[in-house]
Symmetry: none
Subunit: 167 residues, 2 copies
DNA sequence: CACAAAATCACCTTTACGGGTGACGACACG
DNA sequence: CGTGTCGTCACCCGTAAAGGTGATTTTGTG
């Protein structure tokens, strides 16, 4: 039914707004479908079509809702990889040099994108993987390049490696 | 020639399975609702109830799906295969894997350019450093990408590292 | 609540890349 | 000698990337 999971605290207003929005969408959809239903009722398989439509629409809506709800929570985690050659804490999988991160003023999101760039993904692919628009990725990477002093993504990767930001 | 490219296989099957499961659930639900519908049809507001039921069920299902999908994707992961850097100190700086070079049919010049690409240089800079025209560099890199199966230079760098062609 | 930082998205411009095709000289090999 | 490989260069075209500006929304903190 209604989304049970929500942020721990301090975002109740938003959750309420979401629920209201959700209910509104549901009402509108049901209304629309109620209207269309009367046209389709003369056809044989109207109910199947109707049910399928409602199902698909609400499934999509639910997926979207689940995604947006989830987005707040988890998602940081980049990394993995073996090999930590030079100086560094070198603990477990990999740990970005936080000192350098703060020095350069690189945000978590930008670091994440740097990792995906280093993995050889295009902006579009990164956008798809992070569920954001390509423009957003471009903005992030642009600022990232700025902070790193890079002019190209390959250079950003190189500099990021040297700075110990990525494995 | 289909070179490396192995990482995403493990999770794709699960995604397909999820989708199939989803479709199956949908079919079962629709069937069940079709059956129940015949009982409710005598009642006045059966369609509303029916629609509401379908909507609610599929919304919940969608939310669940969104959450699970999100969880899976949120781990980002950037796999980078285990790779023993240099087994022997005999090759002090670095030595490209000649076997793989021959396998892929990569010429010395192309390897050279791959190295410069990995260093973050643009085509123009590479051209300047090698005293050749930019077009030449583009030709080389184009053929290089072809042999590596890369579509972007960042990807070529990634694949080249995995193949042990560059440090 | 207000504020700042971060994240998101849109639009526009210019440049860099990637793909395709064709061509030419050098050089080795059978 | 012909053939094949390699390196070199040119041109065109379409897309991707990078740079800039502005705006909105989320979110964490005071």
């Amino acid at each position: 039914m209604t989304p049970a999971a929500k942020a721990p605290h301090s975002s109740r207003r938003r959750a309420i707004r979401d629920i209201l929005l959700y209910g509104l969408c549901g009402g509108v959809l049901i209304t629309v479908l109620k209207l269309t239903e009367y046209r389709f009722l003369v056809v044989e398989h109207s109910l199947e079509i109707y049910g399928g439509l409602v199902a698909a629409l609400f499934a999509g809506l639910g997926i979207w809702l689940g995604l947006t709800l989830r987005r707040k929570k988890a998602q940081v985690v980049i990394t993995q990889v073996v090999r930590q050659p030079q100086a560094g804490p070198s603990s477990g999988p990999f740990m970005a040099d936080e000192k350098r991160l703060n020095e350069l003023g690189i945000t978590p999101r930008e670091l994440e994108i740097l990792g995906l760039i280093a993995a050889g993904l295009s902006n579009r692919e990164i956008a798809g993987r992070l569920f954001v628009s390509e423009n957003t990725v471009k903005t992030h990477s642009s600022r990232l390049f700025d902070k790193l002093g890079a002019r190209r993504r390959t250079q950003a990767v190189q500099l990021g490696k040297e700075a110990g930001l990525i494995p």
